[in-house]
């Protein structure tokens, strides 16, 4: 199992579970270390900032744009989503994850969503302010 301490967010009322990981384009030409907020309200795999999307040149590995794929906030606001693929790795875990990246224009947050967490037994320990991930290998 790997574990990460909760962290404070700017102006947020509570500390939050963050994961630290490295992200690379599918060819492994560019890599960056990132920190993402675990957000179970987000149903995708990894939401990336538009800046990181550009930095990793993920435009070279995009999925087709579709009118049938869009983002929706809790207030019902619609966002045009751009999708690509990237390789995510955690320090201390000998597995690479090929993840589907979501981003949109001027996106400024990195979120880790429920679809990514399907591969893990995730423990949110509010008392010790720690998130634990246990990788569940597919049978």
């Amino acid at each position: 199992m790997i574990a990460f301490a909760y962290e404070s967010m700017d102006f947020a009322l509570t500390k939050a579970p963050f994961l630290e990981f490295s992200l690379a384009d599918p060819l492994g030409k560019k890599r960056t270390n990132l920190k993402g907020l675990v957000d179970t309200g987000y149903d995708g795999e990894l939401l990336l900032t538009s800046a990181s999307y550009r930095e990793l040149d993920l435009r070279s590995f995009e999925l087709p744009v579709s009118d049938l794929i869009f983002g929706e906030t809790v207030t019902g606001e619609r966002l045009d989503i751009r999708n690509s693929s990237a390789v995510l790795e955690f320090n201390g875990l000998d597995v690479s994850f090929l993840v589907e990246i979501d981003t949109f224009k001027d996106c400024k947050e990195i979120l880790i969503g429920r679809k990514f967490l399907e591969s893990f037994l995730t423990t949110l320990n509010g008392h010790s302010e720690e998130i634990g991930l246990e990788f569940l290998e597919k049978e």
């Binding site: 987000y42 995009e62 929706e72």
Partner: protein
């Protein structure tokens, strides 16, 4: 020339002016440089978006044939041009490299019918600054 510009963010202007002073240039000169850079940046984004549109037009045009002949294989399209169909995602990604397409706007996608997907985001509370 002299202009009067309204609704400029006060804190942003303070930082901008401070940086101009540090660099030893007039605020007007710094602003001209910033405007020039912004105009150029907009062109780059437009070129990227144009290529993205071309890729998607090509993909949608080819999709019926691709689904009929190569369902679940992987297709690569670059700047509007069909590059090829590949057995696996690994092969398709390697084709980006071997065809010198890295850094260009490409589609690397499994061939499948469009499916609806709504990406939902949650909410968080913040204190006002």
């Amino acid at each position: 020339m002299s202009v009067l510009i309204k609704d400029v963010d006060k804190e942003l202007y303070k930082k901008f002016k401070a940086k101009a002073v540090l660099k030893g240039i007039k605020v007007g000169t710094a602003l001209s440089l910033a405007i020039e850079k912004w105009l150029q940046e907009d062109d780059i984004i437009t070129d990227e978006e144009t290529n993205r549109i071309r890729n998607n037009e090509t993909y949608n045009k080819l999709l019926p044939r691709l689904i009929r002949d190569n369902r679940n294989a992987w297709v690569v399209i670059s700047e509007g041009e069909f590059i090829g169909v590949f057995k696996s995602q690994k092969d398709a990604v390697e084709a980006v490299e071997s065809n010198n397409l890295y850094g260009k706007v490409n589609i690397v996608s499994q061939i499948a019918k469009e499916k609806t997907r709504v990406v939902r985001f949650g909410i968080r509370r913040k204190r006002k600054a």
